[in-house]
Amino acid sequence: MGKVVVVTSGKGGVGKTTSTAALGAAVAKTGKKVALVDFDVGLRNLDLIMGAERRVVFDLVNVIQGTAKLSQALIRDKRLETLYLLPASQTRDKDALTEEGVAEVIARLRSVFDYVFCDSPAGIERGAQLAMRFADEAVIVTNPEVSSVRDSDRIIGLLDARTMKAEQGELIQKHVLVTRYDAARAARGEMLSIDDVLEILSTPLLGIIPESQDVLRASNLGSPVTLSEPINSAAKAYLEAARRLEGEDLPVVVPFERKGFLDRLLGRRAA
């Protein structure tokens, strides 16, 4: 039985899809069979980030409505043979998803794959709730910024109330993944620190992904950053986060930026 992990955030644009691709590829690299499921019906993008946009024939909605078999809709990655993508439909809207349909697709994926990553749409409406509904674990992608942290808190509340596991009285395991972290700005007290975010959300940390131009370059090229540039800092952080997700006890090192001469001169203090 595979593990189902929802990648969610509440707020849009914080890096859910990028993180789904990077984490999924990182886990698949270790030889585990991984399926990435795009739940953003009508606004799919995981196919683009994975570089599979021209290979989409059938999608999640087709499978749920019975017009395509699951095996027909799954796209196998060209770089990693253990990595698969189930794209969302671009033409339908989120009402095309039914809870029963999603339950069945997830159950079948779970029986075949070691990991199923569900890329949630932004918001807290139906699409986001269906993406988290059958999850065993959740990765909450958060930027060190007030609106993102507030929305993450809301999503954590939903995970504890609306998931199948929560309703059955079990605990859904939650991890915070801080993305777009700028160590220099945090050191100058211009950005919420990791401690601030963790204290406010009181949820364990999966990793800290530094702000990096390589992430954008990877998206441009249609390749998860953990595959295309595994030695850069963001990719390393994702690879480590993936190991923690698999249960490895790996300490998180907060990226540290030494204060510049000018900062000292002007007496800017870290928070």
Partner: protein, 90 residues
């Protein structure tokens, strides 16, 4: 204010942290509970409607949360008899 203060920028992260802590403490508490302001609004409306005929739009209920104290502001406008249309004064 000394000359040095001109160069010192106050850091904004601690402000962000405090605002978030305050806000989330409230939001978590009220999670799953129906909206207090709209309940108050409905009940106040019902009490007033027993004695005076007013329109929904004439009642404003708002709440301002502070760190140590919150204020509840209720603004009720009761139009003079002459200004009330006959149908409403009914």
């Amino acid at each position: 204010m000394s000359i040095l203060d001109l160069f010192k920028r106050r850091t904004s992260a601690p402000v962000a942290r405090e605002r978030l802590q305050l806000l989330l403490a409230y939001e978590r508490q009220s999670r799953g509970q129906p909206d207090l302001v709209s309940i108050l609004r409905e009940e106040i409306m019902a009490v007033i409607a027993k004695h005076v005929q007013i329109d929904q739009d004439y009642l404003q209920v708002s709440m301002d949360r502070g760190a140590t104290m919150s204020t509840l502001e209720i603004d009720i406008q009761i139009p003079n008899k002459s200004a009330v249309p006959l149908a409403m004064a009914g």
